[in-house]
Amino acid sequence: MTLPTPRTLAEKVWDDHVVRRADGEPDLLYIDLHLVHEVTSPQAFEGLRLTDRPVRRPDLTIATEDHNIPTLDIDKPIADPVSRAQVDALRANCAEFGVRLHSLGDVEQGIVHVVGPQLGLTQPGMTVVCGDSHTSTHGAFGALAFGIGTSEVEHVLATQTLPQAKPKTMAVTVNGQLPPGVTAKDLVLTLIAQETTGGGQGYVVEYRGETIETLSMEGRMTICNMSIEWGAKAGLIAPDETTLDYLHGRPHAPTGSDWDAAVAYWRTLVTDVDATFDREVVIDASAVTPFVTWGTNPGQGVPLGDSVPSPDDFDTDAERVAAERALEYMGLTAGTRMRDIAVDTVFVGSCTNGRIEDLRAAADIMRGRKVADSVRMLVVPGSARVRLQAEDEGLDIIFKEAGAEWRGAGCSMCLGMNPDQLTPGERSASTSNRNFEGRQGKGGRTHLVSPLVAAATAVTGRLTAPADVQAQV
């Protein structure tokens, strides 16, 4: 008898989904859950129609409206006719092909990556895809989850499978305790700055270590969500008691003997002791501080206590040129203290930081404080359920009394596809995931921050650590 080869978590999930393996071909993987939204699906459904192909497994497919929808007047028809046509196309496509859709106004509507977990559809050991790069979020449950393009959306709709070249594996081990006021967001921004936007390219990353084990599911989702921002194919975390506690009793979680069978399987989803990774990175969580971006990609970040770097600080020509361009676009001068940067808008929301825990964290800072006169603050729950839960807890009152705007659920200002946009030259502190040029509106300048830094910044009008406002009681 030969002993089984030790495998990583990612390899186990991969192997369990191979439909076909042949020399010279990528593995054909089965897809357990396909999430669909209005922006990356219309051409895929049109492709099915042109070839007279059905959706193979509508029962493994679910759709919601999130990217382009407004967060105000959500009970009225969408004002922008082009956005409305795109949403109408999704509604018609879902009706035609038998796909369940959670439309605007439905209690289960929201950002796809918030909806899947909250419904209990995202479970350990699954393969999850969506025509959205932040699908990596679902890796927090020990699922292999990655974003795909529209041609692949069509492929999954038609076949429930995807041909995939096997990625390399990487371990990111995080040890130590995050200091007070420092969150999963600060941790992942620190990691991305260290590794740069291409550092994870070609890898599936497993986040592990005592820091990761002590994070809530919300915090784990924030980390996995931003895997794509350093180029990784996917990010995942082994399921544990925290995962089981989160899942138990959710609408689509297994029950009775199915629950027991599922848990027995999920407990096998750990990296074997002798398994090896192609690359390993170790991070000391206790050294992480509130972290913010200064540039125009998520790797261009520094601790909030530092200053804007100079292009001369970088090693390669490409990085120096990129830094020069970024400083010019951001309207920043090297040497300026990050804490002295004034912002016009604070955005709390997105699939990175739009879950209930994020809203609670921001509300804790806002309680009894006011949004600075020079600042507008938007709070956009990740889903309609998150919004309702926040309202049950009175968080909406805290935000509104502070002078913030309390909105309906959706992607909103994360990508500025709906009316929630920055104007040219306007500067934001945003809990979202991308500070690309124009991402939040043409000419808009984005600083990526944690929900705690976002709230503290809203109070002072300048990039601010939570400890700085909490000290001024």
Binding site: V19, P26, L28, Y30, D32, L33, T40, Q43, E46, R49, T51, P54, P58, D59, L60, T61, H67, P77, V82, S83, A85, Q86, A89, A92, A95, E96, G98, R100, Q123, G131, D132, G147, G149, T150, S151, E152, H155, T161, P163, A165, G198, Q201, G231, H252, P254, D258, A261, A262, A318, E319, V321, A322, R325, L415, G416, R434, F436, E437, G438, G443
Partner: protein, 217 residues
């Protein structure tokens, strides 16, 4: 998809790194529900600058984009590929591509040729010196050539084969229907479903999108 064997054309030097898909096409241009008409959104923000390379007349008609490292990072939007192909690009050369962008390109008939940065530097220099320089990207032999300069490029074997043959991925996979059905038969019962019945929709019996769209809201 049309077969891609070799392409010769003039080239556009894009001296920028980390060109994410939000730069290739901003989100506000993603609302079309067709695969065409995205050329207007290509590099939309940068095109406001008359000096931007795409606005320089000496590069009119270029069909090969020579880009800096980390081209196509970020969002999964395949619209970025469509914007490039709708505009007339057939090939992008870079020393590193975003994963999803590269995968999307292979599906949509855009060749993403991976070369070392010194090759990019050399091509930038040649093309900037003489914008009429013809560049050939030969997928059969994995070689990029311009004047007397030539270099190897990389692309995975499977994507290369599909591009050379002009094959439809879905058609290939549906050829493995038996294996998919076998896999489905052994899937664990505890795996979740989004709706109770697994009945597939009867396409013929359902209203078309056009009909649904023409109904008042």
């Amino acid at each position: 998809m049309d077969k891609f064997t070799s392409h010769t054309g003039t080239a556009l030097p894009l001296r920028r790194s980390n060109v994410d898909t939000d730069q290739i096409i901003p989100a506000v241009y993603l609302k079309r529900i067709t695969r065409s008409g995205f050329e207007d959104g290509l590099f939309a923000a940068w095109r406001n600058d008359p000096d931007f390379v795409l606005n320089q007349p000496q590069y009119d008609g270029a069909s090969i984009l020579i880009a800096g490292p980390d081209f196509g990072t970020g969002s999964s939007r395949e619209h970025a590929v469509w914007a490039l192909t709708n505009y007339g690009f057939k090939v992008v050369l870079s020393s590193r591509f975003g994963d999803i962008f590269r995968s999307n390109s292979g599906k949509a008939g855009l060749l993403t040729a991976l070369v070392e940065q010194p090759v990019i530097d050399q091509l930038w220099s040649l093309v900037e010196t003489d914008p009429s320089t013809e560049v050939t990207v030969d997928l059969e032999n994995l070689v990029v050539k311009a004047n007397s300069f030539s270099a190897r490029f990389e692309i995975d074997d499977y994507t290369r084969w599909r591009l050379l043959e002009g094959l439809d991925d879905i058609g290939i996979t549906l050829g493995h229907e038996g294996e998919i059905a076998l896999y489905e038969a052994r899937r664990a019962a505890f795996k979740p479903a989004t709706q109770e019945s697994a009945q597939q929709a009867d396409i013929a019996g359902k209203p078309s999108v056009e009909a649904a769209l023409s109904q008042p809201a």
